[in-house]
Symmetry: C2
Subunit: 300 residues, 2 copies
């Protein structure tokens, strides 16, 4: 240990076995430490790091998981090409006082014979669930597995994957999982683009087009702030913003919805959330904004 | 506390709230106690009590749950008439040193909005799963909920519901639930009838007919002990035993199967299990026996 040893610049301990991981967490808790977990698929960006920061702020011990979960990718999706950047992820985490990094192999998570899946019902069928029919079963199942391996007090997820946070909240409540779910705000580039590990797929031109998603959300927010409540009018303005940016982006969905059920709203209120998804070239992008919330200054 | 206070003749503490239940278990474990749980639907008989005995033998603290789980009953099944006998259940448990009895209301387990279910795949589709298509989803989901509310070290189930034990083992392994599953032998009446809370539905005549199920299993066992390995021959003998008892009982299934997958076996071996299900009047009965196991002297 260096005389200049600084806990917060040490690399986290890497753990690859489930039993070791669970014992680590239990020992921390037996010592009275509150444990936070940040489940990720790696390719860490400032959005993930804001979750890590929230966990280290709120908990005594933070575990980050990196697992590119095959069961949440559909046929033809980007499981194979999803960015794998463990070395730089480790470097990024070294400044955050992360205690452990759980990096299981696929065979550890899904040994031969694995057959169980979790379905959370209606909230997983809408929006992303329409085209990605098995996506949220994959998400719910792997997150439940992680919660059993890492019985943390708190788990941190990003608002960027808003429907995912609903799916996980539903599952945690329905299955009585004793973990507190914390959802952290979207982190955006200075021009408004929501951070995503998939942004690296975008060409310069696609990236410019992709900006129209966040621009549309901000326009929707501004209309609502100006007193407009008619969802049809707000949505058609938002759609025009996207159309004007490029004829190439066809939103998969662009809706104002109830923030708990994701059912489309006819009239906006303080809780209404705007959600958008679009294919930009081969890249699927999603973004969202609660209409009544301020458009935050970008954090990066 | 009486000078003659005897722990094992005290009634267990009744707990109806999930949070209280979880705290109770955690406090026990914090004191270094190993906790066992025996999930039941009440209407306790000597089969259940053998599970309780196994738990009190192997654990420092035993929790029994009584919850008639609506989601594991199909339409037209006996949810409404299922025997509810809390007072006598409490009396029966008072002799076993049970620490707590978890008796949640349906609204505690399934509050409005509950939407999550767990599917364990192929092993839940065969045998009982063929006709009772949502039964094992109901079982898996409620058992997972109970394991989150009661994070026990050990959980005790009866071999009588053999497929259920496979479903639960599959779920526990696949979802990484840190609980040890213990399966205890079938308890039979002196004439061989496997104990079941549903036996109370049987008329005297039906009860006599129902005996043919265990008699068939014993015949199958005897044939195997005598060297017969041909599954077809063993099954046809077993079927004849049932046919001779009564033309009224038509087995729903009567098979020799692999004990892990429940796939039908063409040839019997040391692991092969014989499984039978039949409707006796309005009452569905199931029974099973591992062919290589001795036919135990009845325990009651």
């Amino acid at each position: 240990m260096s005389a200049f040893g600084n806990h917060t610049s040490e690399k986290p301990r890497i753990i690859r076995s489930s039993d070791q991981m669970r014992n680590f967490v239990r020992n921390q808790q037996a010592d009275g430490n509150r444990v936070g977990v940040v489940p990720t698929m790696g390719a860490l960006h400032a959005g993930h790091l804001s979750l890590v920061q929230a966990s280290t702020d709120q908990c005594d011990c933070t575990v980050v998981t990196i697992f590119i979960n095959p069961t949440q990718f559909g046929p033809g999706e980007d499981f194979q090409k999803y960015p794998r950047t463990l070395e730089s992820d480790l470097g990024a985490l070294s400044h955050y006082g992360v205690s452990a990094l759980f990096v299981p192999e696929v065979e550890v998570m899904y040994p031969p014979g694995h057959a169980t899946s979790i379905d959370v019902g209606q909230v997983s069928r809408l929006c992303e669930g329409v085209r990605r029919t098995t996506h949220f079963q994959g998400v719910a199942t792997v997150v439940m597995k992680l919660f059993q391996i890492i019985p943390a007090n708190c788990a941190f997820f990003g608002q960027k994957d808003y429907q995912q946070t609903l799916v996980i909240r539903r599952m945690v409540e329905d299955l009585n999982v004793p973990v507190q779910i914390v959802v952290c705000p979207i982190v955006r580039e200075s021009d408004g683009l929501a951070l995503s590990s998939r942004n690296v797929y975008l060409s310069a031109d696609q990236r410019r087009q992709a900006l129209s998603l966040s621009r549309a959300l901000r326009h929707g927010r501004d209309l609502f702030a100006g007193g407009e409540l008619d969802a049809k009018k707000i949505v058609s303005t938002m759609r025009r913003v996207i159309d004007e940016a490029s004829g190439d982006i066809m939103p998969d969905y662009l809706i104002l919805a109830d923030p708990l059920t994701l059912e489309e709203s006819a009239e906006a209120n303080q809780e209404t959330i705007a959600l958008v998804a679009a294919q930009v070239g081969a890249t699927r992008l999603i973004d969202n904004h609660v209409l009544s919330h301020p458009w935050l200054e970008p954090l990066v």
